[in-house]
Symmetry: C3
């Protein structure tokens, strides 16, 4: 979109962008009287308006809306009823730069745990980020303050933040109202990754080799027993991740990335009928990893990719210690770089154990996506 | 609103508009301890921000938000409680033009059934479009892909689309998850109507005579009996429509338009207690027509209009085979074309049968509207 | 934000702004198993995108969105569950100026009762406006039409409006559907206050002394007994207010302001089990006053402030004739005027009577706020 300047000496600038990811989804299950027929769906995965501004050299702004409507096809099933729509301010962050080594972000933005979550939504390597990597009691963004910077010629990056975590609620629901704290660092060789956001691929324009790690902590986040309001449980998470991308003259660009993440809620899911339901499930206690790889052709804007993930969930739809095996592959065709991109991905979701409250049949999902950044 | 350019050679352009329709409504019923007193209301009928963009000659974008708040005055009654508010992305469509005869729309936009629904919301002939013409299981827009184009010097237009229709839901609620398919064509003599959107009036700037027809189909859209999950019903609809506008030198501009529409859900409303409730009611099985006419003065931006509609609803508020007679009349005063317009309309809603769960007294509604496109 | 022009002779202009107030809140109660531990929260108090436009000299537009998410820390307690989020069009007003003495506002905008509510949200003297001053059955804005203007060299301002008030609902809920009418006037000596919006401080750039008064009325707004649908109650409110700001050479700028407001619903809260719940509580029948004062240093952009309020609520959380004593103090540090401002406020809320359905322990709240207008 257009970039407009303002201020007495044009020190201000504001760019307005639209970002859409429109998907056609086919899943080989989820519909029909026995929910065993295939499901067809057109929907937006992302549908955003973004404002990127700066004022002088030391202050900038990023504000972005998101509109999600009836996301009825979920990671594990197809919903019985329309899931409703939501228009929200997804990001609203004021950024202050003292120097390259000391920057402050204030507002609503991505917290500092996994690299995957910090990769730009419109620039993943595969169709999308991992479906299983989110932290509990929040979404991909949180509200608070982060301090971060680059040191040693951008070879080292540190980030610390204090965020809301579980939203402040009374003792009726949670044992305490504390902030959530994160620390993340990475070491990057070759070309720098010195921004707050990572990318899933640089389309062969950079040579990158980065390893990172992060730790996140929120004390007394949930009751072990909500009925008696006792047994306070802490939240702790850690992750390690690596990313390599290398363009090879005449051969193409290869990309490889992997991470492990562990979300610990001190076994709060074992609390029986008094267990806090948000300590289990897809964003509750879990651990897992992904590996993903890509190959982009040298003379054609076509990128092939594969992804594999394995996650253990403390409890998922009534099954204790469930394990999910997820693999997928497909391609990105860059009609106009990331601004106009066609992606196809086929992926498989497999359940290690049967039982529980939902179907545990393995299924396939085929998604065709058109991405426009305007 | 302003039009901003961008891109290395200014091939991009983006215009930002506000579009508001503010109404004062008086209805001669609906309030007071017996709901027989008159009702007074100020509210926005439409309240929108629109982004219209293009990039080069072959790609364009249309994104529009809508904010509706407590629309308590409904077509047939006054609500008991506030209806809540919703902010949504009403349109979000990427448009690709191969040539005038082959264009592709992708995203969320108006589906191709009735001409009335495809007429621009801010450029109707009467106060608003028909209240009764919507397709079932969706709104005025749907998500999907359309292919369309103009042939024979723009005298012929075709449109086909595959859209979401009823949103994908599990077999708990619907018998299948299928797309909805539409085909529409028109023949236009005199000046062309070669855009995707029609207008309800061209304010005497064009000579237009167009006849169109459309067909829409979605297989297995609803259970005949939701309790036993049996008896799959298809959705089929068809419509024919005509539009004529002719400016007569020194006399003024006359406009006339009419359409018939039939919405068929294979009598699913007869399913008794297991009937899917959305197969009946205002957007369920029905058929009807409208005729509307206008006369715009030659030397004053004043346009007088009348509208008559007759609809048969399979079931409406507990009355089977209910018939609605609706007529209205009023004027548009174009202070600055469609950009600043004052409209007044008085209309009457009549019920053919008494009984059911709601009042069936005939009533009058008087609406004064100020429209601003900025 | 940037200001863009448009129209054949650039008679149109549109400015796009972001306005955020990000807060860190600490309250010494509300959390923990007995709700007696302190509560910590990061959240936006305001999070807005604003469009300010004009077209020629006589027409202008103000459209503003607001996004509020999980405002769990309420004036009197901490919520048990997340309060949800809402994205809305907070303002959408078309403004027509015949001349300085006769102007018309149409749409959704602030109604004309208290000065405090009419003070710009981003330019209060203390952290925020009074928490207790809102009119019943609406928010800080209403929808309708206002006529206003300045007379006698801007020394006198009048405002009258007809607004929606209680939203139109059927006789099931309210005894009638009437508009709400307001009249407000002020006399201002020294420099004029001739805009529709007031400010809480002019930062020493103006010498102001204004006294104002307003009256508001909506007939038959609520049933005295909702069960029998009888005993119609009117709403009446009045207020008087004063504001003085004076910059003293070399000494600094002093600001003082006070107001009294009375909200009367004809004792509808005494209706027992049939009482309309919205006739009591924080926005029901009540009366009270605030006084606030500020001192801004002459050579440093630092402004110290204090505020005291006393309100009597007909019924609050089950306590009849409850009285609230509220006092607070803090400072504004203007890093870049109102465009980048850091505010700290400590405030105390005291209850005069114990009992009822919620805690009535006195508590302290400490808020640090960063305001950005971009």
């Amino acid at each position: 979109g257009p970039k407009m300047t303002f201020g007495p000496n044009d020190e201000g600038a504001l760019q307005l962008d639209y970002k859409g990811q429109f998907q056609m989804t086919l899943r080989d299950t989820g519909s029909g009287e026995n929910n065993s027929d295939s499901t067809m769906n057109f929907n937006f995965r992302r549908n955003r308006l973004a404002l990127m501004g700066k004022y002088g050299d030391n202050m900038s702004l990023y504000v972005q809306t998101e509109y999600i409507s009836d996301a009825n096809i979920t990671p594990f099933d197809v919903a019985d009823t329309n899931q409703g729509s939501e228009f929200q301010l997804l990001d609203a962050v004021m950024r202050f730069k003292v120097n390259d080594a000391f920057r402050i972000n204030v507002g609503k933005f991505k917290y500092n745990l996994s690299r995957e979550n910090l990769e730009a939504c419109e620039m993943p390597l595969t169709l999308d980020r991992s479906l299983f990597i989110r932290a509990p009691y929040t979404t991909t963004r949180d509200t608070g303050v982060a301090v971060w910077g680059n040191l040693f010629d951008d070879m080292f990056q540190y980030r610390v933040d204090a965020m809301e975590g579980r939203k402040a609620v009374s003792g009726e629901t949670a044992p305490a109202s504390n902030f959530r704290y994160s620390a993340r660092a990475h070491v990057t060789l070759l070309d720098p990754e010195n921004d707050y956001g990572y990318k899933g691929t640089y389309l062969g324009k950079k040579k990158v080799a980065t390893i990172g790690a992060a730790y996140q902590f929120e004390p007394e986040v949930a009751y072990g027993d909500t009925l008696t309001r006792t047994d306070k449980k802490d939240y702790k998470a850690w992750t390690v991740d690596g990313f390599v991308e290398y363009p090879l003259e005449g051969i193409g660009t290869v990309t490889a990335s992997a991470a492990y993440e562990k979300i610990d809620l001190e076994d709060a899911y074992l609390g029986g009928p008094g267990a806090d339901p948000l300590t289990s499930g897809i964003n509750g206690q879990k651990n897992g990893y992904y590996v993903k790889g890509g190959y982009m052709l040298p003379n054609l804007p076509l990128q092939l990719f594969v992804r594999y993930e394995r996650w253990r969930f403390a409890e998922l739809n009534g099954v204790f210690d469930q394990r999910i095996d997820w693999y997928g592959g497909g391609f990105n065709y860059y009609l106009r770089g990331q601004n106009l991109k066609l992606t196809f991905e086929a992926n498989s979701t497999g359940f290690n154990k049967a039982g529980g409250t939902e179907t545990t049949e393995d299924f396939m999902t085929y998604i065709t996506q058109l991405q426009l950044i305007f």
